[in-house]
Point group: C2
Chain length 176, copies 2
């Protein structure tokens, strides 16, 4: 089974849960949609006749309540431009810091199967930790005092949106 992604961090997180999978970096169009499901379904449609075995793709986003869901579906682009510093600036003086990380996994084995994971939490007041990637150092999941940036992969997977979505995929695969 392939995990089609260009992001080695995501691959490492998935491998801890799924065991032997192969990372394959194939570009596919990501549409500007309102939700992650549309993005991955469009991606699967593009990829399904090009890949010679079962595969999955994943898309995720950070949805900040006081910013009306920003950066959301565009989290990756926003990170590359304004980064964590920009998010903290936008959140400056804001007391309502609730945010949700969402991950959507789409698995294709002749049919498309969607698995969604969520992780509620809040935006930290400053960058903490240097593990993980992206917004990890500014996101504190519910039930922890640490940011994802301060956690090793196994600890992060317990809480994380991506861990939850990929465990749903594992459960599905075990049932097949």
């Amino acid at each position: 089974m392939y995990f089609i992604t260009g992001n080695r961090h995501k691959y490492e997180e998935a491998k801890v849960i799924l065991g032997e999978i192969k990372m394959l970096s194939v570009a596919y169009p990501e549409i500007q949609a309102d939700n992650l499901e549309e993005v991955v379904i469009y991606g699967i449609d593009y990829l399904k006749n090009k890949i010679d075995r079962n595969f999955f793709i994943e898309d995720s986003g950070l949805f900040i309540k006081s910013l009306r869901g920003f950066p959301g579906v565009f989290s990756s682009y926003v990170f590359k431009t304004i980064g964590n510093e920009g998010i903290l600036k936008l959140m400056g003086g804001e007391r309502h810091r609730e945010a949700t990380f969402i991950s959507v996994v789409a698995y294709y084995n002749g049919k498309t199967h969607i698995f969604k994971g969520e992780c509620k939490g809040k935006i930290a007041e400053k960058v903490k930790g240097d593990k993980g990637f992206g917004y990890d150092p500014i996101f504190i999941p519910e039930g922890s005092e640490k940011t994802f940036g301060e956690m090793e992969t196994e600890e992060k997977n317990k809480y994380s949106h991506r861990g939850r979505a990929i465990r749903k995929l594992r459960k599905y695969l075990e049932s097949c």
Copy 2:
């Protein structure tokens, strides 16, 4: 000829330059690309067999230098979430306020033709004016002291990225 857009402001701006055109609101996928050209070319490919006469689409974005091009290709989404207030917050304390508005028009008449317009300027210190739409009230084009939000359509068209791209389309149509 159709202008395929859901944005009445854009339609009005185009009509001042092109005369009789029809607005047609048909949704098409917008990909998460690095530049506007890719977005419109993908859109044309999707639309070309669905529309029964010549048509054009347009995509535009505001590229702020000190924010590494943010909000860029995702200007519309960013506007809907953090808005002008968010941009001004991100620019707080920033002396380098250079920004460029870019518009790309793609016209389809059996072949695809691309017309690009740019407008250099700077981000205002605060919201000014209530005309236009989107980032117009925080963008001051080079050669003016006013924001686009303080200009009537005809004055805005003289400077604007969209005006420039659509005048290139008009020139092409006249040469046919």
